[in-house]
């Protein structure tokens, strides 16, 4: 369960996020939808405690990201934008490393690594150094690494970037499975079809602020448009940055 309250962040003169509030309940997939440069990534980076908000706060399972970032990190799994893996480690070692950093005992992290390798269909390459991985293989490794400690909340920044159709389908299946187990899933995207297909809740962000939020149906009703794309264009006030 994530509750963001009036999050603000500027980089020098540039205001990246100007007061973002939304709620992402457990057992739902929440999509942050917006054009490039709208502030989606910055919002996520504040939620996963890499950036500190200039103002505002967010509670993740009731814990403040500002006051107790270390505690928050125990309950989140993160797939960051440039999900880099360690090239000289195998996928399995990459996963185990993060398990250890999360404080999992050896037996537990090895069991989790094996489970995730099977779940994400990584058997072919899991024992090979990550140096020669394809984009999809790297992403799977990064995803498994983010899930090794069974986080209650999963945050993903543009997870489908650079993936082929099959990989995107697998990712969707995985995210639905997490949701069905009662986890809170938040992901950002600028691809509308993707959000419409997968999300239970949509938060539309433009120019650093939330311009609308609700279910797909609710958003259509609110704007009176049949097609979500038209609704979206109407909400953000232009068609810049859309795909």
């Amino acid at each position: 369960m994530i509750a963001a309250r009036e999050l603000r962040k500027s980089f020098g003169q540039v205001v990246a996020v100007a007061g973002v509030s939304f709620e992402a309940p457990d057992g739902r997939i929440t999509g942050l939808l917006g054009p490039n440069g709208a502030g989606k990534s910055t919002t996520l980076r504040m939620l996963y405690t890499v950036l500190r908000p200039d103002a505002g706060d967010a509670l993740i399972d009731g814990i403040s990201i500002v006051a107790q970032p270390l505690e928050v990190r125990r309950s989140i799994g993160v797939l960051s934008h440039a999900a880099g893996v360690y090239p000289h480690l195998t996928a399995r070692e990459n996963i185990l490393y993060f398990g250890e950093l999360h404080g999992l005992a050896r037996a537990l992290r090895e069991r989790r690594a094996d489970e995730l390798i099977e779940l994400l269909d990584m058997q072919d390459f899991a024992a090979r150094p990550a140096k020669g991985y394809s984009q999809g293989q790297r992403l799977k490794t990064a995803l498994a690494r983010a899930l090794v400690h069974e986080p209650r909340n999963v945050l993903l920044d543009e997870p489908t970037n650079g993936l082929d159709v099959m990989a995107v389908r697998n990712l969707r299946t995985l995210l639905r499975r997490l949701r069905d187990r009662g986890q809170c899933v938040v992901f950002s995207s600028h691809v509308m079809q993707e959000v419409a297909e997968l999300c239970d809740e949509i938060v539309v962000i433009a120019r650093g602020a939330v311009v609308a939020s609700g279910t797909v149906t609710a958003l259509r009703e609110r704007t009176g448009e049949a097609a979500l794309e038209d609704a979206f264009v109407k909400l953000i006030g232009s068609d810049a940055g859309l795909e």
Partner: protein, 399 residues
């Protein structure tokens, strides 16, 4: 596994991962295990052979000397030829002699003026001119030999004049200087071996260099830094783990380099050149012990610099510059003729350099000095590690 909530949580995990991952990285391995330990002693051996050959050659080889107007001083020319000068008679006026040296036709020209014989005969000082290029240090020895020989010729003439006037020539030698060289084979080789301390310190730093870059700028460039920062490990602990891994590679490099030197010195056979080095197993162990504290300081220092860089490449260019730092104490120590004192032991790199030099000279090591050096270097290293930990808490780190 360490207690998950302890203060030092994660440090060992990061250390072990960085250490093992870099064992698989050719570049790190090459810089830690090959460059210092192999090329250091090789370079040293080559330089030793070369400089020993140079000094051997210089004293035996006849000096090539062009003498302008040999007919004006046949006795002097005969004297010089008889004492190992390879004389070329030439006819050059003042400007031509100067030009000949400048354009390297002759390296040294001895010009005998027209009035030489006349002045000699009238017992007035007769000038001769020695043209040489003082900026060519290599020829300084030959020039000195020419001047000494001419001087000796003059002295002999002076003595003959005194004898001719019935005066004891010894009256003109009020003070006699006798040179007593107390250097031993061990101390004579120190000049060369002071290079050893430089190579050892340098190859230590090079050993941890790539890990320091990879763990900071490299990690950021690869995009693996941000996921790392989302784990429940305090940021400072992440960087402490990385510093320790870099320090471990430096220690490995130190161990190998000193061992390689100890073996190489035997093969070079310094004794042949009247030199010997105190670099047995015990001396090698002492050198390793007094350099080991540099690892923490060096790793923290390089990590701080690398953390400031925006990219791997930028870090690399900063560090190749910074890595010259250990040469500074060597230069100062040489220029000022510094010897080990307790105060100087406070200065990292300088204290190690002075201690290594003492060890190589087979001088007894002052325990207090060694202690001050170790404690001060470790103290500064700890301080720098703390600074690096603080830096890792800044958002600017994410670039």
């Amino acid at each position: 596994m360490s207690a998950p909530r302890s203060r030092w949580r994660g440090i060992f995990t990061v250390f072990r991962k960085e250490f093992l991952e870099n064992l698989r990285d050719k570049r790190t391995l090459l810089s830690a295990l090959i460059i210092g330990p192999v090329f250091g002693p090789l370079l040293f051996a080559a330089l030793t052979q070369f400089s020993v050959k140079q000094s051997d050659a210089a004293s035996d080889e006849p000096v090539k000397l062009a003498i302008s107007h040999t007919e004006r001083a046949p006795n002097l020319v005969g004297w010089l030829s008889a004492r190992g000068m390879d004389v070329t008679p030439v006819q050059l006026d003042e400007d031509a002699a100067r030009a000949a040296v400048v354009d390297r036709t002759y390296k040294i020209v001895l010009a005998i003026p027209k009035n030489f014989a006349a002045r000699l005969a009238s017992s007035r000082p007769a000038a001769v001119l020695v043209y040489s290029d003082g900026s060519r240090a290599f020829e300084a020895r030959s020039v000195a030999r020419v001047k000494t020989l001419v001087g000796q010729y003059g002295q002999q003439m002076a003595q003959m004049r005194l004898v001719a006037r019935g005066v004891d020539p010894l009256i003109a030698v009020p003070v006699a200087v006798q040179d007593v060289d107390v250097s031993t084979p061990t101390t004579r080789s120190v000049l060369l071996l002071s290079m050893l301390s430089y190579i050892v310190l340098l190859s230590m730093l090079v050993g941890g260099l790539y890990l320091a870059i990879d763990a900071t700028a490299g990690e950021r460039e690869r995009g693996s830094l941000e996921p790392l920062l989302t784990t429940p490990v305090p940021r400072a602990n992440l960087i402490y783990g990385k510093i320790l891994a870099s320090a471990a590679y430096m220690l490995l490099s130190l161990l190998l380099t000193v061992t390689a030197f100890a073996i190489a010195v035997r093969f070079i056979g310094l004794e042949r050149f009247g030199m010997s080095a105190n670099l047995g197993p015990q001396a090698a162990a002492t050198i390793i012990a007094c350099c080991a504290p540099i690892a923490l300081l060096g790793a923290s220092f390089l990590t701080i610099i690398a953390a400031f860089a925006k990219s791997y490449r930028e870090a690399q260019s900063y560090l190749s510059f910074v890595i010259a730092v250990p040469t500074l104490p060597l230069v100062f120590a040489g220029m000022l003729g510094l010897t080990a004192t307790t105060t100087l032991m406070l200065v990292p790199f300088l204290s190690q350099h002075l201690l290594i030099t003492s060890i190589l000279r087979a001088e007894p090591i002052d325990t207090l000095q060694l202690l001050v050096s170790v404690v001060s270097t470790l103290g500064i290293g700890t301080l720098l590690a703390w600074v690096a930990g603080r830096l890792y808490n800044r958002e600017a780190l994410l670039g």
